[in-house]
């Protein structure tokens, strides 16, 4: 047994680590681990969280040894507070939102593409490597303090639970596991909304069963700095005792608090230009965004708050002379945030899918429609007619009463009665880290565990047999290998024969995933894989060694497929030889290490 249980909230914009002493597991309350990090050049300090930014400077930009840490001499990059500080001043040198790149469509997460705008390709690293760097930093910071004197207290010896967005598909989870492995860590993955819910379970360890009822659906609504994540948890009755099952998760929605602060700031900047003819530069916009965030917190917390002053200090040494000041009223906040991001809408609404929106500035697939409530309506509609009876909020944005009450009002409108229960008692910023920690405890059998199934269905491409027509490539069909809801920690054989591997050659399978197709069963075939509700994942391949005299190179070996879904939601596909010697080969993800060509870059950007 490890000495500590560690929970890591690997957030899109901030990373938090909490831990508890494994021996006191039942009574212990998770504690936050303060993370030492570079806070400015040549300066390091402990902070409650590690901003998820990675700065790759030129030699000219920082002094020698200015990014060194006690465990790392001659560092030429840094993660954390100083990296975040540079994100706006040196946008081409700083990686942000690495996590969202792990699951970005049409981008290979193991290729060296970040920072997206870096001028020197040799400095670019892959999203997987960036994630690895964050994890290494946590490991070394821990080993420099708590783990410094005792071999048993080393980070890598502990029971570590790492959270991922519920929307992460099997490939993104696999990439996260690879990053952890490269950082020499063994981790367990847990979905973030589940982690938040575990934190609530821990807060009500004694009496949570009195607060929810069998048959109820609970919505976990997690709105962080960069992303929004929904999950549905069903309360079931198992022989008189309540049980919990995670029944649905939403898509990866790239929409969060940062977008809201920016929207407010750009609204104010536009007004300044219109009314005073004042044009703000990037630096002033950054200052204004910060001022807007503070104003938002006041206005959203107190419905009677008056207009809030927004001050942007001059950039040069003339701080008073360069100061720009304006104010934002309750009505303006209401308009840009509450109505802009949380408009009242019908359950039948769905977000606009326009691809030409203002937020689309670089390769990530930012949401075209900022209406969180419409994304929520689409999510709930996709998963049946039943509406949630309770809601658990998580993420920094949900500290704002004005915004959460609008969400509650919207759902009550859909329910036709005002009885949505808001589950309380968790810390919106730290619940994921604490809950992850608590989950480590749960895994040791100390409390109730949420059951979960695959939130995606998966497909491999098979060529359909049709007569060859010149210049027309035959449509590719998709064979379902993992159905929505397949229980984690189980395996199944796919009832489909007609696949073959050629001995001595690499056989490649195109691979797809879907978060929307909940009705398909393993073995079902979709006649055309080129459809909106399937998205491409890295291809899978298998190579049969030439080892057997009876099956010389070039022989076609008929195989069936077996899917193994791990406890943590990663997926393995195996080819099983039909008849004969019953050999097995694992299908591996085809990950390219090469630089992306310009062409690929553009494709992802479009």
């Amino acid at each position: 047994m490890s000495q500590y249980i560690i929970g890591i909230d690997l957030g899109t914009t901030n990373i938090a680590v909490s831990y508890l002493n494994a021996e006191e597991a039942e009574e212990a309350v998770p504690e936050l681990f303060a993370i030492i990090q570079i806070t400015d050049q040549g300066e390091r300090d402990k902070r409650a969280t590690l901003p998820s930014f990675l700065y790759l400077p030129d030699d000219k930009e920082v002094s020698k040894k200015a990014l060194d840490l006690p465990w790392a001499a001659g560092r030429d990059y840094c993660v954390g507070a100083f990296a975040r500080k540079n994100a706006q001043l040196l946008p081409g040198k700083v990686i942000s939102s690495a996590k969202s790149w792990l699951c970005a469509q049409n981008v290979d997460p193991d290729s060296k593409i970040l920072p997206w705008n870096h001028e020197d390709p040799s400095r670019k690293i892959s999203p997987v490597t960036a994630t690895q760097r964050f994890l290494e930093h946590l490991r070394d910071a821990w080993n420099d303090s708590i783990g410094a004197d005792d071999a048993k207290a080393k980070f890598q010896k502990q029971d570590i639970v790492l959270t991922v967005p519920a929307s992460f598909n099997a490939v993104a989870r696999d990439m996260t596991m690879q990053a952890a492995k490269k950082a020499r860590l063994e981790v367990t993955l847990l979905e973030e909304p589940q982690a938040a819910f575990y934190s609530w379970l821990q807060a009500h360890n004694e009496n949570w069963r009195d607060r929810v009822a069998a048959g109820e659906l609970i919505l976990v609504c997690d709105i962080g700095g960069g992303t929004t994540d929904f999950s549905l948890i069903k309360v079931t009755d198992e022989g008189g005792d309540l049980d919990l099952q995670r029944v649905a998760v939403g898509n990866h929605i790239l929409l969060g608090g940062d977008n809201m602060d920016l929207a407010m700031a750009y609204g104010v900047a536009a007004r300044l230009l219109e009314e005073k003819g004042m044009k703000l530069d990037q630096y002033q916009i950054a200052g204004l965004t910060h001022a807007c965030r503070e104003a938002k917190e006041v206005l959203c917390a107190d419905a009677s708050a008056g207009p809030q002053k927004l001050t942007v200090l001059g950039r040069g040494s003339s701080v008073v002379g360069g100061t720009v000041t304006t104010e934002v009223t309750m009505e303006q906040m209401q308009e840009s945030l509450v109505d802009g991001f949380f408009p009242l809408c019908s359950i039948d609404d769905s977000p606009q899918q326009s691809t030409k929106a203002g937020l689309r500035t670089f390769g990530l697939d930012y949401e075209a429609d900022p209406a969180v409530t419409k994304h929520l309506a689409a999510f709930l509609s996709r998963h049946g007619d039943e509406l949630p009876a309770a809601i658990l909020f998580n993420g920094g944005v949900t500290k704002a009463n004005a915004l959460t009450s609008r969400i509650v009002e919207t759902i009550n409108g859909w329910r036709g009665k005002k009885d949505l229960t808001v589950l309380e008692g968790t810390d919106a910023d730290l619940a994921v880290a604490h809950g992850a920690c608590w989950y480590g405890n749960v895994r040791q059998g100390n409390a109730i565990r949420i059951r979960a199934g695959s939130a995606h269905s998966y497909y491999v491409a098979i060529e359909s047999s049709m007569p060859a027509v010149p210049n027309v490539s035959p449509p590719v069909a998709a064979l379902c290998v993992v159905q929505f809801g397949m229980e984690e920690g189980t395996s199944q054989e796919i009832p489909y024969s007609g696949l073959g591997l050629v001995v001595g050659e690499t056989t490649e399978f195109k691979f797809f995933g879907s978060a929307d197709r909940t009705e398909d069963n393993a073995g079902d075939i979709l006649s055309d894989a080129n459809r909106d509700d399937l998205h491409n994942l890295p291809s899978l391949s298998a190579k049969l060694p030439v080892e057997d005299k009876n099956t010389p190179a070039g022989t076609l070996v008929p195989v069936r497929l077996r899917a193994v879904l791990s406890e943590i939601g990663t997926l393995q596909l195996w080819c099983l030889e039909e008849g004969g010697s019953k050999r097995e080969w694992k299908l591996e993800y085809e990950i390219r290490d090469a630089e992306p060509s310009d062409n690929e870059g553009k494709e992802a950007e479009e």
Binding site: K65, T311, T323
Partner: protein, 198 residues
């Protein structure tokens, strides 16, 4: 100064208590007044010369240490200013000529500077009142008060109880937390000049 005392003092300064025990001369069992003989006299002179040399180098080391402490103190003071400038723009504000600005313009900037500098005082110095009571109200100063922390003014009574009016509650930095610095950093820089390339 007896030689054993001198050695003891020397070793106490250099190496701490452990060394003193081993170096204490003479051992308690030996005669306290040995007969003077030329050989011993010679050794004594040699030992005293060595001692003088050691004391000189010790003094030099102490001077170097004092100087290092002074440098550290000086750098720390500048660093405190750096934090107030970086987080709260205080140096910019104090260095600026504000004569030509309207009070409204100054007020707008000050409100922000005030808030940001206040955070530095809290986070890096944990500034708290020395006497946490209402000003201009009656207060009693305890008998064993520290005159560097509480200043008595007016008609100060010669004997306790010291009953008076609190005119200023005082401020104390209850901690000094500075981040750790390393690398090649010019300690006199309070704000780096910025050059943007476009």
């Amino acid at each position: 100064m007896r030689i054993s005392d001198a050695f003891q003092a020397f070793f106490r300064v250099l190496g701490g208590a452990d060394l003193v025990d081993k170096a204490t001369l003479p051992p308690p069992s030996e005669p306290t007044t040995p007969e003077p003989d030329p050989e011993t006299e010679k050794k004594l002179v040699e030992a005293e010369a060595k001692l003088a040399e050691a004391v000189a180098s010790l003094t030099a080391a102490e001077d170097a240490q004092t100087e290092a402490a002074e440098v550290q103190f000086r750098d720390g003071a500048v660093y405190g200013l750096l934090l107030l400038q970086r987080e709260g723009r205080l140096i910019d504000f104090l260095q600026e000529n504000v004569d030509d600005y309207e009070d409204e313009q100054i007020g707008a900037a000050v409100r922000q500077i005030h808030r940001d500098c206040g955070k530095v005082l809290q986070e890096n110095f944990a500034m708290t009142a020395i006497v946490d009571e209402s000003e201009n109200e009656k207060t009693v100063v305890s008998e064993d008060f520290d005159p560097s922390a509480i200043k008595l003014t007016g008609k100060v009574p010669s004997e306790p109880p010291y009953k008076g009016f609190l005119r200023h509650k005082g401020w104390r930095a209850t901690k000094v937390h500075f981040p750790t610095r390393s690398g090649k950093i010019d300690p006199t820089v309070v704000q780096a000049a910025e050059v943007e390339f476009i």
